[in-house]
Amino acid sequence: MLDSTHSVATPEGVDLTLVPAGVLPRATAFLIDLLLRGVILVVAASAIGVLGHVGIGLFLLLLFLVEWFYPVLFEVLGGGATPGKRSVGLQVVEVDGRPVGLAASVIRNLLRAADFLPLLFGLGLVSMLFSPRFQRLGDLAAGTLVVWTPERLRTVDLPPAPAQAPPSPLRLAEQKALIAFAERSQRLAPARQVELAELLEPLTLARGDLAVTRLRGMARWLAGER
């Protein structure tokens, strides 16, 4: 199946499946963090403004730390996620699936300056679109991924239909395809739903709306409903 998952082999001999996050959720998380950083700086500025020149000096030090090390702090100590990433449901991990370490976090966040070039994350965007795991330049050098947290990967509700067993056993990829169809079918036009469902006539032994209903029913059965 065409998907963007990333498999990690563990010492225990199983493959873990991680799901890298694309451009849009990451941009959302970045904007939330940007806003939060702005708020921190404004609050700090009004708090230490009364200190005069020493206050401005302190503010410049804080500006430096917030500009470069805000993400490092949260990624290393906060389970791989800045507040923005946490709210979207993302986390940074090393390519081997371990939590991100200090060196990797510093590398990816210092190299953000290169991703930003030539304008508004131009290189970072190109790098993410061309890398199979949505890695920006900083991620490539640090060997890190931004993935959906396990909590965010719970399956969505399937549309209602009477659960029914498929007439023959299906392989895991086939089962997943059926469930993915049921999950997404409500976002498709009815005619398109029918068109896709009729491709599986040997399985459903039906045409038209009945084929769609039967596929949804099989999906519910595969998802555990009896």
């Binding site: 563990t10 225990e12 001999g13 199983v14 873990l16 499946t17 991680l18 005069g52 020149h53 020493v54 401005i56 000096g57 302190l58 503010f59 410049l60 030090l61 500006l63 430096f64 500009e67 470069w68 991990v93 699936g97 371990r98 939590p99 370490g101 200090l102 060196a103 510093v106 590398i107 210092l110 190299l111 953000r112 300056a113 290169a114 070039l117 290189l123 330049l137 490539l140 050098a141 640090a142 060997g143 396990p150 909590e151 990967l153 719970r154 399956t155 056993p169 299906l170 392989r171 895991l172 089962q175 997943k176 469930i179 595969l222 998802a223 555990g224 009896r226």
Partner: protein, 322 residues
């Protein structure tokens, strides 16, 4: 075995693993490794038997969480910072000395060339700086000023310290990041800074402000200029990995070089903090006579050279295989 039967038999094990992840009690936490390996086995079985995706996904989620918990980076060992400063950092710079000299040649070469050119032909300063910048630099190093190196006499030393940290370390980090453009970004930033500083130096020497200018820059320059060259060197390490990866893939070469490169950046950032301290509280003071500043500067440059040439050598020799 049907998926339902599998679920019925093992569900208790999985909730026990979830409890161990939350680490409600020490006994739960101790059970984590065993519970985790058991869940790994269940995941492998569930995949092999083509159990429903929801079940496989649930187990995968659980195993990912436990794996994340179990394979955390160890906390840094005690003495790691001291070991880095006294031994690993200078040894690392020596190990990549070629790139250090390339970065230094770029920076000091541009500096010397334009400084001599401006000294010989004063109007050349306007090829690098515009007229208002030249006036500003003249004002900063006017011998009549109480505070050197800034146009605001009333600006406190601590304010300038904050400014130097924010501005100079930012430039250092950008020089490093420029390495991702095949090293060209780092080289351009080194050349540009060398040209600007060289033009200012040539011009101010020519107009007779040499004592205020050179006595100002010579002290903290030992740390600041060395750190900028080191940042360029770290960027060039990334650039070399991208341009000439050798027998590795570009991605693999980049990942391998990024780790030592960022350690050089740690050292460079520390040097820049030192430089900011010296620059804000020592270099800018007009109360200190230039002769004393030159003497201290000679000491600082000597200390920096000695540090990078000698620090950690005996430990390296002791570790080396015989």
């Amino acid at each position: 075995m049907s998926p339902q039967e599998f679920l019925r038999r093992h569900e208790a094990d999985w909730t026990a693993l979830e409890r161990a992840l939350a680490a409600a009690t020490p006994a739960d936490a101790q059970a984590l490794p065993a519970r985790y390996r058991q869940a790994c086995q269940h995941l492998a079985l569930a995949r092999e038997r083509h159990y429903p995706p929801a079940l496989v996904d649930r187990l995968n989620r659980l195993v990912v969480q436990a794996h994340h918990h179990l394979y955390r980076m160890p906390p840094p060992r005690a003495g790691a910072v001291a070991r880095f400063l006294l031994r690993d950092f200078p040894a690392l710079v020596r190990a990549h000395a070629g790139l250090f000299w390339l970065a230094a040649l770029c920076f000091y070469g541009a500096f010397a060339a334009i400084a001599l050119a401006v000294w010989w032909q004063p109007s050349l300063v306007y090829s690098v700086l515009d007229a208002s910048q030249v006036r500003e630099f003249e004002a900063m190093y006017d011998p009549a000023r109480r505070h050197l190196g800034s146009t605001r006499d009333d600006a406190g030393d601590f304010l300038m310290f904050g400014y130097y940290v924010q501005h100079n370390i930012g430039i250092g980090f950008q020089t490093f990041a420029g390495g991702m453009l095949g090293g060209i970004g780092s080289l351009v930033i080194l050349l540009f800074n060398g040209l600007t500083l060289g033009a200012v130096a040539g011009h101010l020497t020519r107009v007779g402000f040499h004592d205020t200018f050179w006595s100002f820059v010579c002290g903290h320059g030992a740390f600041e200029l060395t750190a900028i060259v080191l940042a360029g060197m770290a960027g060039l390490m990334l650039g070399r990995a991208l341009v000439a990866p050798g027998r590795l893939t570009r991605g693999e070469a980049l990942r391998q070089q990024a780790r030592p490169a960022v350690r050089i950046i740690y050292g460079a950032a520390l040097l820049l903090v030192l430089a900011a301290l010296v620059e804000a509280f020592w270099s800018s003071s007009q109360a200190v006579p230039p002769a004393l500043k030159y003497a201290v500067a000679a000491l600082l440059w000597g200390a920096v050279a000695l540090y990078f040439l000698r620090a950690g050598r005996s430990a390296e020799a002791a570790d080396a295989p015989r």
